[in-house]
């Protein structure tokens, strides 16, 4: 394991940059625990101060320190996006692989369920959920709902790959090696869909975080919990963009962008690692 990590670090510049970016964001989110200010209190520092040695990322028009606010926000947002992605990935993988591999009526039933989820329009549902749940609509519940609504498309994608994997002869070899369906799906087909899982995971996170921001911009947000969307919501409420408080928006955006560029680079290098054909070839010209 360590060797693999070492080799990845040594031979894979993408991995290096990715680790640095993601590491930075993670450290930032860990820092939240050391914040000198409680995240939901306003007017704890002078408002509208541009980035300075005292306030690295400046302060908001609500008298909050952008840096510390951001530590909470990125932590919550990543947690949120991660939860959505994780749950919906599991659903998408299980349903996609099983449906594609098993075929027949299982496929039809699963795909009917799947299609039902695909066709349901998201925004009104989320908004209505919000209305019904009211202030008990925490980020976790929102994450669960989004996870339930966010797996279907990817399940279809995975199914389509699984369907063609099923026709590959090695699947038969595995069957005749006595592997159970679960083992075939997990050990034989999963690695094949892994790159897709990586990319859909990221897409899913971007999607869920984007939707969280969208809901925030529309005003459907738990304004007590700082998230990236929440920060943008408040910045928006204070017309930060035209009021010239750019740091209120620029830093959260930059951090989100950093996170995803980092994740992207990690995924690229991981894909290479998963496929031995490309993995083992890395060294060829290099040494």
């Amino acid at each position: 394991m360590l060797r693999i990590l070492r080799d990845l670090l040594r031979y894979n510049p993408e991995f290096r940059i990715g680790i640095v970016l993601v590491g930075f964001v993670l450290i930032l989110s860990v820092l939240a625990s050391f914040s000198p200010y409680p995240p939901d209190q306003v007017y704890v520092v002078p408002p509208d101060v541009p980035p300075s040695p005292t306030y690295w990322f400046g302060t908001t028009s609500r008298g909050q320190d952008v840096f510390w606010q951001l530590t909470f926000a990125i932590r919550n947002t990543l947690l949120f996006g991660g939860t959505v992605a994780l749950i919906s990935r599991v659903l998408a993988l299980v349903i996609g692989l099983v449906s594609g591999y098993k075929g027949g009526w299982i496929d039809r039933v699963l795909m009917s369920i799947n299609d039902t989820f695909i066709v349901m329009p998201l925004l009104p549902i989320l908004v209505l959920f919000y209305f019904v749940m009211r202030d008990s609509m925490s980020w976790l519940i929102l994450a669960l709902i989004m996870a339930c609504l966010g797996w279907a498309y990817d399940a279809r994608l995975i199914r389509s790959v699984a369907m063609s994997l099923k026709t590959r002869e090695f699947t038969q070899s595995s069957v005749f090696s006595g592997m159970s369906t679960r083992e075939i799906l997990v050990q034989e087909h999963l690695p094949y869909v892994m790159p897709i899982v990586f990319s859909t995971t990221m897409n899913n996170m971007v999607w869920s975080i984007g939707l969280e921001v969208t809901l925030s911009v529309l005003g459907f947000t738990d304004i007590n919990t700082p998230t990236i969307g929440g920060m943008i919501y408040w910045a928006n409420q204070h017309t930060a963009m035209v009021a010239g408080i750019w740091w209120w928006i620029a830093f959260p955006t930059a951090i989100v962008v950093m996170t995803f560029i980092g994740l992207f680079l990690l995924a690229v290098s991981m894909n290479e690692y998963i496929d031995p054909r490309s993995r083992l070839s890395r060294m060829g010209g290099a040494s």
């Binding site: 009917s112 975080i209 894909n271």
Partner: protein
Amino acid sequence: MNGYLIYIVRRLGQFVLVVFIGINLAYVITHATPIDPVEQSISAATSFGNTAPDAIEQMRTSLRELYGLGGSPVEQYLVFWRRILRADFGPSMSAFPTPVSTLIGRALPWTAGLLMISTIITWVLGNLLGGLAGYYQKSRGLKLMGVIAMGLHPIPYYILALLLLIVFGFLWPVLPIAGGSAMNLPQTWTWDFISSVLMHAILPALSLILIGIGSWFLGMRSLVSNVVTEDYVVYAELGGVDRHRILTSYVMRNALVPQVTGLAISLGGIFNGAVITEKVFGYPGIGSLLVDAVYAGDYGLVLGVTTISIVGVSIGVLAIDLLYPLLDPRVKVR
């Protein structure tokens, strides 16, 4: 009977089932809204002037009747289906007595036009870039493109849209920043109108494209990275087949199959509209109609929009399933 015909029939059955369940779910969900359309209307009407409290009680009763909220839930449900089957969504409550279909009919062309074009451009560009990046994995330029696409991808849409707006509408004001066409220009098929519509669509479309490319890019890149190691690609390379050909007909063509599914679903999804785009750019469309309807508790309108979108997406999914054997000849229809 021909196997494919059996398949089509089965698939159509599934389509009908999904649409039926979907619309029912939408019905249940929209009726679960705690917003009372009558209360909403009263609040809107009375905020414009002073209305005596006793009069308001009267207003409540007559509105309830007017909006067809009388009758048992079962009756209401049956009325709903009877209407749907006649493709009639009834009157909107927040714009009573205008029919829901009129409201949707106004908004839909804008939405469809903008989203269809931008979705397709996004898809093409995203897949092209993703395909190139997956095929020429070592190319620095493409890596950079990838990072850019990925960097744009997670930018909160609202921020990007606003940024574009400030840049092209204020700092360097070359593009219109609001509306679907120039003010006071009759909506007729004149060149003036069409060019104005195009000009107005540039920024909204650009924002959608910039944000959207990343997702297709990412998907395509990973799909392609699976395909490039296949023997037929290696062989085509050794066979001196035109690089361009290899990229398109060998690599992309094989990787594209799942992406086409995605495109179909996205195209079906355009009936959902793009609320934030519509809000930021003041672009007419179905997204704001929908959100406003939700606010107003106008379930007639919400259901109208959702039904159309459910049918739209279902058709997208159906089409893709029926065409699948064409896209991937290996897949047998069962």
